[in-house]
């Protein structure tokens, strides 16, 4: 890859998401962006910064404060030729729209035998690590992943934030787009013209022969950090970034796990009946005889997200991941 000044940009994830929206709105005038405070303010995280100014009130606008209304209106707009992108201000404020999401967004294509399709994106700033008070740090991906008919993605890198959001907006079906809040300010040098793999593809972020860490969204950087530390101790950890929770990339994940025979799933959400349960279950089903040890999980505890002063205990950290790796029944330990 040649590095040229024109294509390589140093961007935060928030900026990359903003750029993705901007480029999508430029490319397709049916793309609309709306929600709470996404207009003049540019969103509480500034993801929609400047869009109203650039594209006008018809294309990027504030709505009344009602999430079911926002999602339901998106359904209607999508039924009638638009490609709406909506923002739920914080993950937990998506719950008032739950009926719309589960009973309509997820089911419309199916209900109508493919006649009515809903190309729409629900953006969810999610997860913790930002010192937010209650209801501001939920990880709700499991609710959506469990709901047939939804596509659920979570970027972990700046480049993926751009690519996955562009692809989500172009996607013919509704996408739940989980944005790891604490990575909004993570900066990377990226070339936005280089397209990353699409929805449905996991990627191996780091090679390693001893064990596989499976992560997505906010836990990917932690998993990479853990791998770095482990390497210094002589253990080579492979890191898989799921990127797409639904569809799930069984092939990449299972190939990775088979190559090491050991795995730890790292996710921020509470573990019980969650996406991480699913990963353990399906990988075990498919790779049982390659496994030297049961797959371990490092997840949030089964508690409401803690108050700011205690949140560090809930978040999967390097030590906790390495402890789980140590538990993978190594013959030599």
């Amino acid at each position: 890859m040649t590095m040229t000044a024109t294509t390589l940009l140093k961007l935060t994830m928030a900026q990359a998401l903003n750029q993705a929206l901007r480029d999508a709105m430029k490319a397709d005038e049916t793309v609309l962006m709306f929600g709470e405070d996404v207009g003049a303010l540019g969103g509480v995280f500034r993801i929609t910064d400047g869009l109203t100014a650039e594209f006008g009130e018809d294309r990027c606008f504030d709505t009344p404060l009602a999430e079911s209304g926002i999602v339901g209106m998106a359904v209607g707009l999508a039924m009638n030729g638009m490609r709406p992108v909506v923002e739920m201000q914080f993950d937990a404020f998506g719950y008032p729209a739950f009926e719309q999401v589960v009973s309509h967004v997820a089911k419309m294509r199916n209900r109508t035998r493919g006649r009515v399709t809903l190309p729409m994106v629900i953006r969810m700033p999610y997860a913790g690590g930002i010192g937010g008070v209650e209801h501001h740090c939920d990880s709700s991906e499991s609710y959506y992943a469990h709901t047939p008919g939804l596509t659920v993605v979570a970027p972990a890198t700046v480049a993926d934030a751009y690519t996955l959001l562009r692809k989500a907006i172009e996607h013919p079906d509704p996408v739940i787009f989980m944005e790891p809040k604490k990575l909004y300010w993570a900066k990377e040098e990226v070339d936005l013209s280089v397209s990353q793999p699409g929805i449905g593809k996991a990627v191996v972020r780091r090679e390693g022969r001893d064990a596989t860490l499976i992560a997505y969204g906010p836990t990917v950087p932690i998993a990479l950090e853990a791998a770095e530390v482990a390497a210094a101790d002589g253990r080579q950890l492979q890191v898989v970034d799921l990127r797409s929770i639904v569809p799930f990339d069984d092939e990449t994940v299972c190939t990775a796990v088979r190559s090491t025979g050991r795995a730890v799933v790292v996710a921020e959400a509470s573990g019980f009946a969650s996406v991480s349960s699913e990963i353990v279950a399906r990988v075990t089903e498919r790779c049982f005889h390659s496994l030297a040890a049961p797959i371990r999980r490092v997840t949030g505890f089964d508690i409401p997200y803690p108050p700011p002063k205690l949140e560090r205990h809930q978040l999967p950290g390097v030590d906790r991941i390495l402890d789980a790796v140590d538990d993978l029944q190594w013959e030599d330990s």
Partner: protein, 362 residues
């Protein structure tokens, strides 16, 4: 009281242009529809009634899984579609079979849901009729989105969004009216207040002076009409559609009618109301009064009435024959319509089922 309030509050009494004896009454704001419109409307009412009856019979014969009858509400259902143009949209509920059919949707396809073949049977874009909504009030906000999209595209489309009295208690009713008002979306919200939500009477649903009084809280003009008077409904709904089309924003209309039969065939209305309550409503039947009016005016005679009845019978017969046909949806379809492209997981699951069925057959 200011003019804002006069503009937004409904009239003191539901608008009625033809009373239950078939006698017309002048109204300062609303005019009786054209004679031919009423004659056509009458034919649709008769057909609607026959379809209700036929569907009820088909349930008893096991041909439909369930049927929420709109017996007694035919005037509302027919009026809702008569006031629309082709480019307009209808958002119906499970109870609005007659509305959907009178919009021109194939009757057999209309009954796909209630027959248990699939969730929705017709192509919503063919006649601009949204799939029937079961989760109450959720469709009202979709209607706002469809209307708003039309306006963004520069079209003068109007959306007719139906719901029942019970549905007005749901949060989505509130959000839909408010969004429509704020975005000035051309939606006519049309409540068929049939006094019941399954077993729950209106008094337990609201203590507001009327459901039309909910409009002012959103800045939406509210109006109420006699739900069994096709003439009044056509006038009121017609004016609402005109206003919405002219850019005056959403309109809220409450029709006061009555659910003459049980909620569905599965319901037992004797548990929560008695016949004495139902009886006066049979007198207010929408067909009877329009017929009386048309006969009195010489717009309907024995011969033309027979023609209307024959056409209705014909429609019912088509329905009967169509539903007698045994349709068995293909299980493979279960996986076909979730996504534009099947996920690897669905491919596996579809193959699993196919394999299982193949072994079953073998």
């Amino acid at each position: 009281m200011t003019t804002v309030e006069e503009r937004l509050l409904p009239s003191a009494e539901p608008i009625q242009l033809i009373d239950e004896h078939g006698v017309p009454h002048d109204h300062p704001q609303y005019r009786l529809p054209a004679e031919q419109t009423l004659v056509d409307g009458y034919a649709q009412l008769v057909k609607g009634r026959r379809i209700n009856d036929q569907a009820g019979a088909l349930v008893r014969q096991g041909r439909l899984a369930v049927y929420p009858s709109s017996h007694g509400q035919e005037a509302c259902q027919v009026a809702a579609t008569m006031v629309l143009r082709d480019q307009d949209w209808l958002f119906p509920t499970y109870r609005d079979t007659v509305s959907i059919i009178s919009r021109g949707v194939d009757p057999i396809e209309t009954l796909t849901l209630l027959r248990g073949d699939w969730h929705s049977g017709y192509d919503p874009y063919q006649r601009n009729v949204a799939p029937q909504a079961t989760p109450l009030a959720t469709q009202l906000i979709h209607a706002v989105g469809v209307a708003h999209a039309a306006r963004l595209k520069g079209e003068d489309t109007v959306v007719m969004a139906l719901c029942g009295d019970g549905a007005t208690s749901e949060g989505d009713f509130h959000e839909a009216l408010n969004f429509a008002a704020v975005f000035k979306a051309p939606v006519v919200f049309f409540i068929q207040n049939n006094e019941y939500a399954i077993s729950v009477p209106l008094a337990r649903q609201t203590v507001a002076p009327s459901l039309a009084h909910k409009g002012i809280g959103y800045g939406v003009p509210g109006e109420r009409a006699d739900g069994n008077d096709l003439a009044g409904l056509l006038a009121v709904l017609g004016q609402a559609v005109d206003k919405a089309r002219a850019g005056e924003g959403p309109q809220l209309i409450e029709a006061h009618t009555y659910r003459v039969q049980a909620h569905t065939n599965a319901d037992d209305a004797t548990r929560y109301r008695n016949d004495a309550e139902v009886a006066p409503w049979l007198e207010r039947d929408p067909l009877k009064r329009l017929e009386a009016y048309l006969v009195e005016r010489g717009l309907l005679d024995e011969a033309s009435k027979n023609k209307v009845v024959a056409a209705a019978d014909q429609a019912a017969e088509t329905l009967r024959i169509g539903l007698m046909e045994e349709v068995q949806p293909d299980p493979a379809e279960l996986f076909d319509y979730l996504y534009a492209e099947k996920t690897p997981q669905l491919r596996e699951q579809a193959a699993f089922l196919q394999d299982e069925l193949a072994r079953e057959e073998a």
